[in-house]
Every structure is written in structure tokens, then in C-alpha cells.
Subunit: 211 residues, 2 copies
């Protein structure tokens, strides 16, 4: 379809469900997607770069961005702020990109309220046992932290019905394809093509005179 | 996702939009689809076979099927009955197939009412001029018949918003992919996976004891 509009896509999921890897792989395989870059007040981890994984900003700067309305959504998580700068997302969508935000459920619901056209996708592990195993095998986290992530998963699971689509991330390559299908399919939703339908009706009225 | 349920898909579109070719091509490329076979009281055209393109039945037989509730939908078109036998569709869906009905808008709306989980797809030509050209180049139809098909298109266009998805059939191979994406994507709609979500929540409750 000509002139298609970029879609705003929100992806959430339990810690350990593999969202990050899934999205990186999607974006490297298909060129019409762009990952949004969040701003955060948390410290960079080893190997993270400002402007690549996150925009790392001080708490005062972040609060200024909130008060100036420069964020599409923001939330606090384990004592730090996370938020999505509007400017970057809008620039990408104006270029026709489908822009993907990887955010927590609090932020996802703010987006749903403020951008009703956004597509909300929830990524799940194939089973809870598998989720726990993945967290354990990361090796970087204490059992206390793993338990707290499981608690959080239980909380987050209450909100799944707020999401439009569900991806069960069992095998990376299949999940990448599934997410691509979901987003490509969504471009064809009738309500996203009202302008095109209007044009067709005009042509029909031109062609078929009178009733 | 394990154990996925077959989806009932309804495809409509203007005469000349290329639905038939599109669906035949989809079904031959991907094995998870099954075309439904309609019953009709119209006469077979050259090369059509009973039980392949249609079940050809007498008017009395058709009316008996209606009164016995053996049809999922039925409609009259240019003086003939067309309808979808329930039995065939249900058998295919029970085998996990996504079953596609190629039917007119009257029938599509009956399906939507009786089977709210059905997916309604409307196929359009890239432009109305192109539609008219295609009808003319079929060579088999008089200009009067072409005009009446254009009139009908204008009527049908009023109902497009009743459909969930829109495919613009410009180039066959792309349209086949797009329709496949739409249907595959639809398998991931949250409300189609409630049973799976319930299972995950149970596992989470097992794993995370207490609040």
C-alpha cells in the first residue's frame, strides 16, 4: 500500500522473556523498524553507551523533561526513572518507520491512553519454569533478585489482557518472524486505512454516475 | 504456540479484485489453509466440477439445507442461492486448519454475527480504473454486465468498515504474503490466547507462593 504510516509499537514482557534479543534481531533483519531509545537515570552497565542503549541523564534533567512534556511516557522502576523522549520517536515515524518501544507495563498503559493507535505486544516465555531457568543461567543475578523478578512477573501477568498481541518466545528465529507478521498484518487493519478507502470511494463515485 | 486453534476467515471484495487467484495461490503455498466449498444453485461453468469449485445443488435441496440449519450463511446473488455448509468447515477447523470462505458481503455479515471470532478481510484493486480494466480484459463479459459490476462495487464499498483487514491486490505474490501475515498475526491476538494465559498464571501462582 502506498504512503503507509509508521506504527508505534510497545513491547513489554517478563524480565528473562528475551525481549531485548528478539527486538535486536528483528531490527537487524528488517529495515522498516526502529528501536526507540529511552532516557533513564540509572547508571550505565558495562558496555552500554549513552545514546545507544539509553540516554543516560541526571535525575534533575529527567524531571525537567517530565515538566516540559518532552516524554511520551515515564515510570519508576527499582528506584530509577525510565522514559521515552517524544522527539526521537516522532522523527522516526515521520520517516515512515515503525517505531518500537521496549517498556514496562506502567509506561505501556500511558502510551495506550495517549496514543490509541499504538500496538501493544506482550512477550512471554514458553513456561514459567523456563523463565526461572533463563534468569538463573544469566549468572549475573543473586537468587534474591531472581525471586523478586518472579514476584514482579506475577504482578505484571495481571495486565496481559491490556495488550493487543502475545508472542511466546520459544525459539528466537520463529519469534522474530511472528512479531514481524503481527506488525505487518497490523498495517492492514481497516481503521488504519480510512484515508485510502475514502479515495477509492471517490473514484467509484466518479466512475459510477448517479444511483 | 502449541495447540493453536483454527481461525475462520471471510474474504470478500469487488468482482475483478482478484480474490479467487489470490486465495488459490495462498492455499497452494501454505498448507495450514483450507478453502471452504460453497453450495450453490447456479449452473456449473465450463471446467467447474461438483465438490471442487462448488457443491452444485437444486433449489429445493438448498432450501432444505437452510431450513435444517445446515448452512453457516447464505445469500442470493443474481437470482441464485449461495451458501456455506457448516459440516465441511467444522471438520477442517477441528483438524487445526484456518478455513477461508470467499463470500459476498451479505454472507460476511451473517458470519460476523454468528461467529464473532471470525476474521473479515476485504480485497481491493489498487484503483477503480484498474478494476474496470481488469473486468474489460476478462473478455467474457458484456459492457452491460461490467457496468452492473461497477454499480455493485459502489454498493459494496459502503460496507468496507465492517471488515477487520484490507488487502490491496496490486501484485499477486505480495498480496499472498500480506494475507498470510494478516492471518498469522491474528493467531497472536491476546483474546485468542486466553487459555494459554490462564495456564501461565497458574504456573506463576505455583512458583511464587504467597503475596
Amino acid at each position: 500500500m502506498n504512503n503507509r504510516k509508521g506504527i508505534l509499537i510497545v513491547v513489554s514482557g517478563f524480565s528473562g522473556a528475551g525481549k531485548g534479543t528478539l527486538l535486536k534481531s528483528l531490527v537487524s533483519k528488517y529495515k522498516n523498524y526502529q528501536l526507540s531509545i529511552s532516557a533513564t537515570t540509572r547508571s550505565p552497565r558495562d558496555g552500554e553507551e549513552d545514546g545507544r542503549e539509553y540516554f543516560f541523564v541526571a535525575k534533575e534533567k529527567f524531571e525537567e523533561m517530565i515538566s516540559k512534556g518532552e516524554l511520551m511516557e515515564h515510570a519508576q522502576y527499582v528506584g530509577n526513572y525510565y522514559g521515552t523522549p517524544k522527539k526521537y520517536v516522532e522523527e522516526q515515524m515521520n520517516q515512515g518507520k515503525d517505531v518500537i518501544l521496549e517498556i514496562e507495563i506502567q509506561g505501556a498503559l500511558q502510551i495506550k491512553k495517549n496514543y490509541p493507535d499504538a500496538l501493544l505486544v506482550f512477550v512471554m516465555p514458553p513456561s514459567i519454569l523456563e523463565l526461572k531457568n533463563r534468569l538463573i543461567h544469566r549468572g549475573s543475578e543473586t537468587m534474591d533478585l531472581i525471586e523478586s523478578r518472579m514476584d514482579r512477573a506475577k504482578e505484571e501477568a495481571k495486565g496481559i489482557e491490556e495488550y493487543d498481541y502475545l508472542i511466546v518466545n520459544e525459539e528466537l528465529d520463529s519469534s522474530v518472524e511472528e512479531l514481524h507478521y503481527v506488525i505487518e498484518g497490523a498495517h492492514h487493519i481497516t481503521s488504519r486505512n480510512i484515508e485510502w478507502i475514502r479515495k477509492m470511494r471517490e473514484q467509484l463515485n466518479e466512475e459510477v454516475k448517479g444511483e
